[in-house]
């Protein structure tokens, strides 16, 4: 009974729970990465109790791996020493944590996962509860296997209609961020539903829970369906029978209706993710760097649409264009299908798999006065390097079109037959 989050929590707790209740939940997996593990180790050591279950712990190196400087190298060595000491074997370093967790089969409907990373909301695309927590709580969960939660109220975003060619899930999500604002769903669970979501392939659905973080949400959820099951069985290592959780007689705090029919390509403009405009409004703005990648838009299909646009063309001479596959699995497929060759021929640079330029710590930094167009999920001032740089966010297709012209460009000129 209840909304998706109430359903997941109730099954986990073995009793009916409702929004507003505070509870301790057993978590299935506790994720942290090279950036957030050091403080978690410190908290864990201060508590002074043993690890509750090492099988719950998953550690990723993705934010700056291999280490680009001495400080990162020292931090990563401390984490490796800790993993050896504690016999933690679920360790990954070949892609962005959220993508690798999906590929490796950790993400399944009904599971509860916490991550020392704000985009842990991503897992909701598979009907799993995922949320980002501070490092102290990661350390607490290592030693207790639990985390406390206030069961959140739910906002339903009902998305219907058929998007026009050249308009992607990213555009729709940016449009939603523009309407709702950065604190539009603070503390809340956001459910994404409607005929538009039903029709989307999984790599596009993932955008919505992933970017629910940008509107302040505790989690973003999509109910599992056959399409999701098929994806898990063919694209990931997840096997077995999945809990097909559905909202049952849910009570929503608010319902927001979105019709995508008339939405065009969108851009989140410097300096806020909710400063969203139709791409036409910022068309022609000169761009120094294009970056395609991240846990939002670094998947195979994102690279594929970029390659479709870049094939046989050259990127603008003074617009460095960086393409970073979100995982090695994606990189391999892109290589096999000739995408990497297309990017090389077009004058792009392929980044090391991982978070890459998104956090300004692993290549592709922006200098003062530079402006980037990226497929990232946020554009905080200073995120990619200089606080005097500007970051604009859009779809992979818009990013590819922009790279060719060296200025913000509508991708539909390449996509409409």
């Amino acid at each position: 009974m209840g909304t998706l989050v109430e359903e997941i929590f109730s099954r986990k707790a073995g009793k009916l729970v409702r929004a507003g209740e505070i509870m301790l939940l057993d978590v299935d997996y506790i994720m942290s990465h090279d950036n957030t593990s050091p403080l978690a180790i410190k908290a864990f050591r201060e508590i002074g109790k043993p690890i509750m279950d090492t099988n719950k712990i998953v550690i990723h190196f993705d934010h700056a791996y291999p280490a680009p400087n001495l400080m990162a190298a020292e931090a990563q060595k401390r984490i490796v020493d800790f993993m050896k000491e504690q016999n933690i074997t679920q360790f990954y370093h070949q892609g962005i944590c959220h993508q690798v967790l999906i590929e490796e089969g950790y993400i399944q409907p009904g599971r509860v996962l916490i991550g020392g990373d704000s985009h842990s909301n991503t897992y909701g695309a598979f009907g799993a509860f995922g949320t980002g927590l501070g490092s102290t709580e990661i350390g607490v969960a290592w030693s207790t296997g639990k985390a406390w939660f206030r069961v959140p109220e739910t906002i339903l975003i009902n998305i219907n209609g058929k998007a026009k060619p050249g308009v992607f899930a990213k555009d729709v999500m940016l449009y939603i961020a523009g309407i709702m604002g950065m604190d539009g769903a603070t503390y809340k669970s956001v459910e994404f539903a409607g005929s538009y979501i039903d029709a989307l392939p999984m790599h596009e659905r993932i955008i919505f829970p992933n970017m629910s973080t940008e509107i302040g949400a505790k989690c973003g959820l999509i109910a599992p369906d056959e399409k999701m099951v098929q994806f898990l069985e063919t694209e990931t290592k997840a096997r077995g029978s999945f809990e097909m959780i559905k909202p049952v007689d849910p009570k929503y705090e608010k319902i927001i209706e979105i019709d995508v029919t008339n939405i065009g390509p969108q851009v989140a403009c410097h300096p806020d993710v909710d400063h969203v405009q139709a791409l036409e409004q910022v068309q022609g703005l000169p761009i120094d760097e294009v970056f395609i990648g991240t846990c939002t838009n670094g998947r195979y299909e994102d690279l594929e649409i970029a390659a479709q646009i870049l094939k046989g063309k050259k990127v603008s001479a003074f617009t460095r264009t960086i393409i970073t596959p979100a995982s090695v699995q994606i990189y391999d497929k892109a290589m096999k299908n000739g995408l990497i060759q297309i990017f090389h021929d077009a004058g792009c640079t392929i980044g090391v798999v991982g978070c890459g330029a998104c956090i300004g710590r692993h290549g592709g930094l922006l200098g003062p006065g530079e402006r980037a167009f990226t497929t990232m999920n946020r554009n905080f001032i200073g995120r990619m390097g200089s606080p005097q740089a500007e970051i604009y966010l859009g779809s992979p297709a818009a990013a590819a079109a922009t790279a060719i012209a060296g200025k913000i460009t509508d991708p539909r000129i390449y996509l409409e037959a």
Partner: protein, 165 residues
Amino acid sequence: MSKAWKFEDNLNTDEIIPARYNITIIPSELAKNVFCEIKPDYAKTVQPGDVIVGGQNFGCGSSREHAPIAIKGSGAKCIIASSYARIFFRNAINIGLPILECPQAVADIKEGDDIEVNLASGEISNRTSGHTYQAQPLPDFVLKIADAGGIINFLKEHDIQDLLA
């Protein structure tokens, strides 16, 4: 008296403490630079028991725990705000910094007002204006964490189940 220090809506973690000072996690060290760019006199003149009053979406921005640690380290008794950014809310509770939500009190309180807060009942009295407000009382488990001085200290003495016992 407990003085109110008033801040704007959408106060972000960089305004609470700029990232360049996050090279330590010692509360008293962080407290030296808390609010240094937006309220430079705060760190020098704040008295133990003073109250931070913010607007909406208090503590937005990064998930770093340095921000609530710096405020707690400065000796402030609690924060009263209209609403909090999600991860700041959790981080504050987990490091043992009490936080109250009360938009009505926020609208009334001005910088320098004399404020009395009862954390257990959620009652906020503005002695300067003479008005009293009722915030949602802090749940028991939050008070337990605050009393222990943070969740880490709580777990040194207790099982996590004791939080909700």
